[in-house]
């Protein structure tokens, strides 16, 4: 039963990710990405990885979506001409990327299904979430701070600065 649930959730997640990549509206893309993150959160909970699930939900589905949507609110709508040019570029540039990603994901999934016996089931260390976050993963907290700063300045360069 868990296997089928997982498979369905995985398929839904991939569909949301494809939507996020293909939607022309940035807002719809951001929402689709958040939905994919929620699916991944559920998958992680089912796979007994609650820390991963909590991080995924708080950072990817929550924080990142807020950052995306606030950024999109800073942008203006495109003219019809720009829209047409963008659509041409969009389709051409992303086609090989989709193909490469699909091949990598399919090969990995196939390989993992062959190696099913060795997947580590859940966490065996016995720490609770708070303990893990503060007592063992200090470097991740510093990393997250720096990552958020990089994202903020990236948004400033691409969307806020007027040339």
């Amino acid at each position: 039963m868990t296997g089928i649930t997982l498979l369905i959730l995985l398929v839904i997640m991939v569909l949301f990710l494809l939507l996020a990549l293909t939607k022309k509206s940035l807002l719809k893309s951001a929402v689709a990405l958040a939905c994919a993150s929620v699916m991944l959160t559920i998958i992680l909970f089912i796979l007994a990885a609650p820390w991963g699930a909590v991080f995924e939900l708080s950072v990817c589905a929550g924080l990142i979506t807020v950052v995306f949507i606030s950024t999109i609110s800073m942008t203006d709508a495109k003219s019809k001409r720009e829209d047409y040019e963008e659509r041409k570029l969009h389709n051409k540039k992303f086609a090989p990327l989709f193909f490469i990603l699909a091949v990598v994901v399919a090969a990995t999934a196939y390989f993992l299904s062959q190696q099913a016996g060795i997947v580590i089931q859940g966490n065996e260390l016995g720490y609770d979430f708070k303990e893990v976050l503060w007592n063992t993963r200090q470097t991740d907290i510093v990393g997250q701070i720096v990552l958020v700063l990089a994202a903020v300045f990236g948004i400033t360069v691409f969307f806020k600065e007027v040339d």
Partner: protein
């Protein structure tokens, strides 16, 4: 840990982090005005701290392990760890940021300086974090941060060339990320940990039935890091990113970012954590020789100054990968020294490229000529850097190349050593062509009025060239200290 150690370590991380906040809390008018001076001062402080710590580590032959924010209680906690190699990379990063700041002073548009300073400090933070962490996942997080900042910086001017270069870099970076994450997942599935120490402990035990999965994971990590480093055959993004980036960003990218994100990671993972790792050695050796030859021969066919430097970088980084593949202590010392030397001479050549572009408005070498008389500092600095890159004695580049080729020869890779030596001659050839076309020969009429570049640009070129010359004396001293302590 004594007080000096504490102060120094805080200056690697807490100081830049605090600096970002302080810089952004200032009124925008003030921060725009002081932007470049702020970055120059900050990188100088970090550089001094790194040099002090390098000397401490070199004399004690020790490492420092510490918790940055609070003491951690768990036994397998992820903490920060600093050894001589990490400290050298931190010093190179600070030096490259310093030179990029000096170049940015006159070359970058005033409204771009604010973002440049913020992103350059975050790159410094990310590289400092990357070299000090003790587990593969944290390593990946900092690697990504540096990568993200780099492709934002390449597109800083938002012109079509910059955006194209940045987009290519971004796509290749995304592919590298996929490889790295899949590789790490395979390693974790097999070893149950991503801590460097625990992976090493796993390898020292008898191999399990799923050892193949571990090997596959290593292959994925290897390919991911080679893409990040721009090693042949994954070099597609390098020339465009280098050529299209603003001058100060090229100095930063050529000086440290590509090397730290790809090459340092290769040295750390395959030189220190998993040395002599069977098939990985073979793959690395093939990539290294491809990069050395392809970079050198393609550089011969280029006519744009920055593109020549980009292909030259691919070739020079190939030497470092060759040393990692050889894997002996002598080769790893050679790799680290060539890493430092490459930061110096390539940083200097990018500073020279900026000076030439600003004065003449072009970097096409067919349109240049006879600039040596009008731009003596740029010319001398360029010649010194090229001699060092070509491995001409006694400059610093000679020592590192000599060590790498010697180590390859002694380890039995005689054909690889011979190829590396021949490619070094090609390096001389393309740099001679570049120097002749740009600085020597008859002066062109349209360049009759040009003069030497700005003071800050000259300062950056002089500092890097002086260090290249100083390296010719310092490297033998460092080698004798290492030999006296039985490390090589």
């Amino acid at each position: 840990m004594n007080t000096v150690d504490m102060l120094v370590l805080y200056s690697f991380f807490v100081l830049p982090l605090a600096a970002v906040f302080v810089f952004n809390l200032l009124p925008r008018r003030v921060s725009d005005k002081i932007a470049v001076h702020f970055l120059t001062g900050l990188s100088l402080l970090v550089l001094i701290s790194a040099v002090v710590e390098c000397i401490q580590l070199l004399t004690k032959f020790d490492y420092v392990s510490f918790s940055l924010l609070w003491d951690m209680k768990a036994a397998n906690a992820s903490f920060f760890y600093l050894d001589l190699t990490s400290c050298v990379v931190i010093a190179c990063t600070a030096l490259s940021v310093l030179c990029a700041a000096l170049v940015a002073k006159d070359s970058l548009r005033p409204e771009k300086k604010y973002s440049f300073v913020n992103l350059a400090v975050i790159i410094m933070l990310a590289i400092n974090g990357m070299v000090m962490v003790t587990d593969l996942f944290s390593f990946y997080v900092f690697l990504e941060v540096a990568g993200i900042c780099a492709f934002i910086l390449v597109a800083l001017n938002k012109d079509s060339q910059g955006l194209e270069g940045s987009f290519k870099y971004f796509l290749m970076s995304a592919l590298a990320t996929a490889f790295l994450l899949i590789g790490m997942a395979f390693i974790f599935m097999n070893t149950g940990s991503l801590y460097f120490v625990e992976i090493q402990a796993f390898l020292s035990k008898s191999y399990t039935a799923n050892y193949f999965l571990f090997q596959l994971g290593l292959c994925f990590v290897l390919v991911g890091l080679c893409i990040k480093a721009g090693i042949t055959p994954f070099h597609g993004w390098v020339p465009d990113a280098y050529q299209s980036a603003p001058a100060s960003v090229s100095v930063l990218m050529g000086g440290i970012v590509t090397k730290a994100c790809g090459i340092y990671a290769l040295i750390r993972v395959f030189g220190f954590i998993l040395p002599d790792f069977g098939f990985v050695t073979d793959i690395l050796m093939i990539f290294a020789l491809l990069a050395i030859c392809f970079g050198a021969f393609t550089a011969m066919a280029q006519s744009n100054f920055k593109r020549i430097l980009a292909y030259s970088s691919i070739s020079q980084l190939g030497y470092i990968v060759l040393a990692v593949a050889v894997g002996t202590p002598l080769a790893i010392v050679g790799a680290v020294l060539h890493f430092v030397n490459h930061s110096l001479f390539k940083g200097s050549l990018f500073v020279n490229a900026d000076a030439i572009e600003r004065e003449t408005g072009t970097l096409e070498i067919t349109q240049l000529g006879g600039l040596g008389k009008q731009m003596p500092v740029t010319s001398i600095s360029s010649v010194l850097s090229f001699l060092s890159a070509a491995g001409i004695p006694p400059l610093s580049g000679f020592w590192s190349k000599f060590l790498i080729i010697l180590a390859a020869w002694l380890a039995g890779f005689k054909a690889a050593a011979a190829i590396a030596l021949i490619a070094s001659l090609v390096t001389i050839a393309y740099f001679l062509r570049l120097q002749k076309a740009v600085f020597f020969g008859k002066s062109r009429e349209e360049f009759a009025d040009i003069k030497e570049s700005s003071v800050s640009n000259k300062a950056a070129a002089i500092v890097l060239s002086a260090l290249t010359v100083a390296g010719s004396v310092l490297i033998p001293v460092v080698l004798s200290v290492l030999k006296a302590n039985g490390l090589i």
